[in-house]
């Protein structure tokens, strides 16, 4: 909104101050995320910009912390880098194992949350749904209940049922935590859903299944995928439940970071952080593209 021509000098000044203020707040939001990226290339084991780095001297930068991510936990990290070294890394590198665990747990919990969540969202958005408000409140509550309470409850429940220290246990827990996100995004897509489309399909003789797969699903798919991405990120970022119910076999990236931050916060943590920032940028871009596509598909103007 541009200022009108008759604005007083005071108003112009205020506008300047306002813009500056907003810039500072946005800087507050984004700077901490970006600051780790250059620091992760630090050649020294410090968390600040060295003089060499500030002078853009290439010797001030290095990939040593990224290298450490691979070698940490290896049986023979200093051996020559032949096939045996790579096999050793693939099998023993602590961070690589954490990454594998994060992906396995993330993928399966996302599939579970997305499948159940989408199904439920379809039911919830039907006007006939009984106890809609109460059921919705229950299904969203994993997002609201303090995570420590969930983790504590699961610790006892899993210990009693033998699910503690198993992949299945962590996957089920993460699926539960991801469900609210799927429900929210999919129901949001269904709000703008034009019911006459399914009625038209039905009147043209399509079975309910055909209607769902040929008409409904393609239209809500962007919402489903965004929900799935949210669920994946929730799992990918979750540490408290893993702390309480996972065994050493199921250590994920955040769990490994938690250790690192508490004990030896080396720039290797910043290298992991940088990789994660890159991943989140990619995920955010995907979600944005999906959102726009969904709006185009449904003919809703963005806003």
């Amino acid at each position: 909104m541009a200022l009108p021509a008759h604005a007083s000098p005071l108003e112009r000044l205020w506008r300047r101050v306002f813009h500056l203020l907003c810039a500072l707040i946005l800087l507050f939001l984004i700077a901490p995320i970006l600051i780790v990226i250059p620091l992760s290339f630090n050649a020294e084991p410090f968390f600040t910009f060295t003089e060499k780095m500030l002078a853009l001297d290439p010797t001030g930068y290095s990939l040593r912390w990224y290298d450490l991510l691979m070698t940490f936990g290896m049986f023979a990290p200093d051996a020559p880098r032949d096939a045996a070294w790579w096999a050793d890394m693939w099998a023993n590198s602590t961070w690589l194992r954490a990454a594998k665990n994060s992906i396995i747990i993330g993928v399966f919990s996302t599939l579970l949350a997305t499948f159940l969540g989408t199904l439920a969202a379809l039911g919830l958005s039907r006007p006939e749904m009984p106890f809609r408000r109460a059921v919705m409140a229950i299904l969203i509550s994993p997002m609201i209940v303090p995570i420590i309470i969930v983790a504590t409850g699961l610790f006892f429940f899993y210990s009693a049922t033998g699910l503690a220290g198993s992949y299945l246990g962590v996957i089920l827990a993460h699926a539960t935590l991801g469900i609210p996100f799927v429900i929210i995004t999919v129901t949001a897509t269904l709000v703008g859903f034009d019911k006459s489309l399914t009625r038209a399909a039905a009147s043209l003789g399509a079975s309910p299944a055909t209607t769902f797969f040929k008409v409904t699903l393609p239209l809500i798919l962007p919402g489903v995928v965004s929900g799935a991405l949210f669920a994946f990120v929730t799992s990918f970022d979750e540490v408290v439940v893993v702390l309480f119910v996972a065994a050493h076999d199921q250590q994920t990236i955040p769990r490994q970071m938690w250790n690192g931050i508490r004990e030896q916060i080396s720039p290797a943590i910043l290298a992991v952080a940088t990789i994660l920032v890159v991943i989140s940028v990619a995920l955010l871009a995907t979600v944005e593209i999906l959102r726009r596509r969904s709006e185009q598909l449904r003919g809703v103007t963005p806003g």
Binding site: L29, F47, L276, L284
Partner: protein, 415 residues
């Protein structure tokens, strides 16, 4: 006048009934779609939490390991002084518990209600093997503290498997020798103060989030869409970035040798020995949590501000209002739903926060969640952890109910 004719479907069923049947079928169908998830959430979420909360009122570690004394308590009135049968039951139970290596468990349980008694049980347990009648004398020879009426009153309390005592403990209360509820000594009061601190900090963080979120949301809502979409990425990226990454960044920025302190020292604004303590204290918790929760206020504010037509403010101005009056009387009231939604959500999330305070909060920046975790993993007083969790959960659920009333869960938006 002719009988009103009932409308029927082609197969002769009254239309009203057919409609009701169809509606019931539709309701069932809708519910069947939700049912698998509901069941899943009940099993993996509601049942575990319910089970955990049960521990806040149930603890049988005394009754299970001291059966004779528990039986004696059950048959006698409160305040009965221990008789010979009681001393015998105590001595035999202690001996059995020492042999079964459970005397420490019993001692720990009694110690929850009467601090300083665990050692009494374990030390006596080591001598219990040689105990002989007369039991009273044998026990008092082992330790004169066994005659303490307070101890007997506490054991009577602990012998009841179901009791509200852990909730009392969670509120810094205890029972005296006669069973009346009293405050615990000053140097052991922790929890009420910590609940207060949690709520104060959560409120402060909420205010900060609204104050910082409002201008940004306003800017985003008034910029042309092309620009606001671009700037929106700056708001959404933190939202998508791992919490641990953001916490790490704050450690890097705020610590003694961190980016901020080093820059201030390098530019001469700060003496090298006068570095600011920005982290491992309340300041660290407040800064990092405000950063983490800020997008949760910006997004609802934005979605409320976007549809406000600028013509309202212009109309106010043209009617002679100053820009401040126009903002206060016309614009601000229209954004109140967004402020309410954002503030309530941030407050709910802040009250239960665990990770950030645990990593950057030091001693003074710990919240109630951290104490629950402490009792879960360190002191292993699980019943107390459950009682604290129950209180926290109760408070959060009240807020959640309020949110649903005022904002509606359906209006929760992500990105």
């Amino acid at each position: 006048m002719a009988e009103p004719q009932t409308l029927t479907t082609p197969d002769g069923v009254p239309l009203k009934r057919a409609l009701a049947r169809a509606q019931a079928r539709a309701r069932r169908r809708a519910f069947l779609l939700v049912a698998p998830l509901l069941l899943f959430v009940i099993v993996t979420f509601l049942v575990p939490i319910g089970q955990m909360l049960h521990r806040s009122v149930y603890n049988d570690s005394f009754a299970a390991n001291m059966p004779r004394l528990t039986a004696w308590f059950a048959t006698t009135e409160p305040d009965t002084p221990p008789d010979d049968a009681a001393w015998e039951a105590l001595a035999l139970d202690l001996r059995a518990a020492a042999e079964a290596r459970t005397v420490g468990v019993v001692g720990t349980r009694v110690n929850y209600d009467l601090p300083g008694t665990r050692s009494l049980f374990t030390a006596t347990g080591r001598k219990a093997r040689s105990f002989q009648a007369p039991w009273r004398e044998a026990l008092l020879a082992a330790d004169a503290d066994w005659a303490d009426p307070m101890l007997w009153s506490t054991m009577r309390q602990a012998a009841r498997s179901y009791s509200p005592n852990f909730f009392l403990a969670a509120l810094d209360l205890t029972r005296d020798a006669r069973g009346a509820i009293v405050a615990v000594p000053q140097d052991r009061q922790v929890y009420v103060a910590l609940f207060q601190r949690t709520f104060t900090l959560a409120a402060l963080i909420t205010v900060l989030c609204v104050l910082l979120g409002f201008p940004v949301a306003h800017l985003l809502a008034t910029l042309p869409l092309r620009w606001s979409n671009l700037l929106m990425i700056l708001v959404l990226l933190p939202f998508w970035t791992s919490l641990l990454v953001r916490t790490t960044s704050w450690i890097v920025l705020l610590q003694g040798q961190g980016v901020i302190n080093n820059s201030l020292v390098a530019t001469g604004l700060l003496a090298d020995d006068g570095r600011l303590s920005l982290i491992y204290n309340q300041t660290g918790t407040i800064i990092a949590m405000t950063h983490v929760l800020l997008p949760f206020t910006i997004l609802p504010l934005y979605s409320v501000m976007r549809p406000i037509p600028p013509s309202y403010v212009r109309a106010a101005r043209s009617l002679g209002a100053t820009s401040w009056t126009a903002f206060r009387r016309v614009y601000l009231p229209q954004t109140l739903p967004g402020i309410g939604a954002g503030a309530l959500l941030v407050f709910i999330l802040a009250v239960g926060y665990y990770i950030t305070p645990a990593l950057v909060g030091g001693a003074s920046g710990q919240l109630i969640s951290n104490l629950i975790a402490f009792h879960m993993t360190d002191s292993l007083n699980w019943s107390l952890a459950a009682a604290l969790a129950a209180i926290l959960l109760g408070l959060v659920l009240i807020l959640y109910w309020l949110y649903d009333r005022l904002v509606g869960i359906d209006n929760l938006k992500l990105g």
